[in-house]
Amino acid sequence: METAKHTENRSGRLISLLTAAAPLLVLLLVWQLAAVRLGRPWIFPPVTRVLEQLAHPLRTHYASGSLLGNTSVSLLRVLIGFVLAAVVGISLGVLMGSARFVRRTVEPLIEILRPLCPIAWLPFAIAVFKLRTVPQLFGLAYTRTVWDQVQLGMIFVIFVGGFFPILTNTLDGVTGVRRSYVLLARTLGASPAQVFRHVYLPAAMPQILTGLRQGLGLCWFVIIAAEMMIGSDSGIGYLLMYAADNAAMDLVVAAMFIIGIVGASLNFLMRRVMHRFVSWKGREV
């Protein structure tokens, strides 16, 4: 009995896996057949050539570096900009949510700057920060590491991309805290500082995490676009553009594939974090 059930379970899982994978497999098959038949890999590369590129992530493509190297440059830029955006966005959001004066003062400025596409900041950011890198900020001229590719202008644009969703979500979270929880904490002896630490922060946490997830997703969008701009010389977005200029469409599609996978992984990661920490959300009683 036990074994039969086990097998049944396993075959059930196999079937659901196949159902999920089937559209992808069909797409790849049709793509491969069409590409081979067309015979112009510089426009429409066969799947096999894209896979061949993906199988060699360390191969250097002329002056532009490898798939893996450029991906790590992009990721590093995103993580630094995102962490800055998270620190500033959460702090300011909590401050604005708890002090009406701060909110009234800052909100008009925020509302003017928020609709501005982060990419529009790039020329300005590069003009202001030149091509200064993070090591140069600390007085190191050249470290011969991936850090030499982390320009302040890029960080700034990523920061702008992540900052607004994190800020607005944090603000919504803090202002939406149920008054009952604040009153409960006060009657149980919590000081204003303790109410802040033990009520506002945990109660707003689900929305803060939502802001972080949206912010990280947007940061990953923004870095790809920023790296495709003129003046960029590294990153997976740059490699994609460089490959397109050289008619290496197999490399372009391989880069697209990596961008998609990284974006999905970041989102998945953030979802796991949310599920782990705020499983109570929506079940308040």
């Binding site: 009952s180 409960l184 149980l188 000081s191």
Partner: protein
Amino acid sequence: MRPEFASDANHTILQLDDVGKTFRSDAGADVTALASVDLTIRQGEFVTLVGATGCGKTTLLDLAAGITEPSAGHLRRGSGVRLGQSVAYVFQHYTLFPWRTTLTNVAFGLQMRGIGRRQARTCAMELLARVGLAGFEKGRPHELSGGMRQRAAIAQALAIEPVLLLMDEPFGAVDDATRAELQRMLVDLWQDRGMTILFVTHNIDEAILLGTRVVVFGGPPGRVVRQFDIDLPRPRDRNMKPFTNLFLDVRQALAGGLD
């Protein structure tokens, strides 16, 4: 036992003289929630406040808890009745922090006082056992049943060793069997701990079953219609003649207080 109360059975815990409360509504109109309330609550009493929904019972509790201030009259709290220290409030809804476990909810007040983690934990575990929730300390509020949540909320309030316990229809949302159990438990706790309870309900039966005194509230605007001292022996039997007589009297007073 607090020494200042042990010897003085007539110690006043809460005294309202001609207290009124007026709110400004969202539309800008003044709404009178309470009009001229006189009420005195003494050490060790279990006062039940019975009245129709919307007659200002909760406003009265909020005043007692210091959540709002009276707009007219005087409200005096006895010595040792200090807000944020010895007045606990069990709400009808949202009585627990949903992001905390049952144990850390009960320990909340102790944590705020800077009591060490281990000591707070020991104390909270004892209280959980006392309210019949041993073994549920790791659960979150949404994993508990309605009755269990109210047990946990009572334990959370008891953790700060309140002199005055305010309760706003705490058993309003549970089934009859559970309510009967919770009522028995609350009377036991009250008898054990010598605290004073102000308990709001719209259920006449519950008011007579629990209280040493039933305050019939009418309105709006809210005011005290009549008070009944209840000296029936405990545990009280709903089917005894004195109980049913009282029930009819309270019901009549309540009906007279409705405008």
